[in-house]
Amino acid sequence: MKRLINLQPPRICAVMLALLPFVFAFFAYVSFSNERLMANPNDKLLPAMSSFGAAIERMALVPSKRSGELLWWVDTASSLRRLGTAVVISSAIGLVVGIALGALPLVSAGMSPFVASLSMIPPMAVLPILFIVFGLGELSKVVLIVFGIAPVIARDIQGRVREIPRELIVKAQTLGASTWLVILRVVLPLALPRLIDAVRLSLGAAWLFLIAAEAIAATDGLGYRIFLVRRYLAMDVILPYVLWITVLAFTMDRLLRFLGRKAFPWHHAGASV
């Protein structure tokens, strides 16, 4: 018998193992739900699967009686628009600031402690300020997410740029590169794969800030809906929404990973730097 650290599951086995916790969670839920519903058919805490089906149909397929909209899709579109805008802006800021901090000692000397301090401010603590300054519209929600993840991305990129072997920077200069061209042709391409990873890692935080902002002040969005129906203890809507958010987040993560592998084949070919 091999030691535990050397045991690799065969492929089929690995897939089964991966599915196992999901299946277990599903059946655990169904059995608890059945038990409660048996005792009290009006129990709202753990709705039956049929209630979920009805709720999803009501939210996603039947136009709302009040607005005539398909709420599920309107919420999804609003949330994704906010999240997407914020992530794109954060990536751009993070990339530019991170490269400037990592590659230019003068910028780093002046700005590094400031950016480090900025990234320590809890974004939720400044949310009231954002609402006061930017109003309750879309802008304050996007700014909250940017405020929350851009400094983290910037510091990650800065770290990556500093990891670039000194030899490569010297080499580029001996081939005739100016500061600008060293950044454009060497630093930027070497930092881009890390940008993808940094964005993937900050997606969780981005969702957190999005839901929080929507919960407090919004008229649509996935977070808004969850907090709205909470008043009616509508677990049959909340749980599918949570599941849907998880699916969206998971899909984004996989898409980014796929994009990274396609765009930077050299990075995944076992390169050492």
């Binding site: 490569l168 080499k171 200069q173 081939l175 050299w266 076992g270 390169a271």
Partner: protein, 251 residues
Amino acid sequence: MNTQVPLIEARNVWKQYGDNVVLERLNLRIEEGEFCAVVGASGCGKTTFLRMVLGEEPPDRGQILLAGQPLRMEPDAERGIVFQRYSVFPHLTVLGNVMLARELKGSKVLGRLFGARRRAAQEEALALLSQVGLDNAQDRYPSELSGGMQQRLALAQSLIARPRILLLDEPFGALDPGIRHDMHKLVTTLWREHQLTILMITHDLKEGFALGTRLFVFDKVRADPQAPDAYGARVTYDLPLNKSVPALAPA
């Protein structure tokens, strides 16, 4: 005594880090077309000297001249370099790595060439790649190459920039003996055909003798056992080796 201005001249160069004197009163001259090998024990300051010639560090005292002029104290295209590791760019293909110098010089804003100029750079790069035996690997990334192939690529990449002096920092130190022998032949051929001036750092004395037209030995002439860092190294032997320096083509 040679009366022409040497390509590299070190005059009374000192370098110390804190109390650790690395080099003291170092004098040497490198003429155009020479293949100079610098050997010495670990910590004798050979790499420090190379870094000073490269412009990465200033000497504390004395000066280093390039063709009679003080060196620029930052790396530039006059001095090419091949390091032992990290000499090629992992995000560029073999061809991209060699074309890079042409693109950097030909396009100051984008760092990329297009159309006819790109094709010209490509042809030049391909010619160099076939000289170093990498013409079949042009589309591969460096991580897919062996250590020896990466160093061949690094040589081609430096040569396309036509540096006045090519610096080699233990370029073959990480290679297997058989590969190293092939690389010796290659670098000798390149040195002849491109009429290069080479300054090579090595800890392998045999390699120094085999390749160089001139051998510098760095060592400490004074040593205090109570304070091993108190004195630095200098050139203790300057041996011209009997090899024909290729005649320089008239300009």
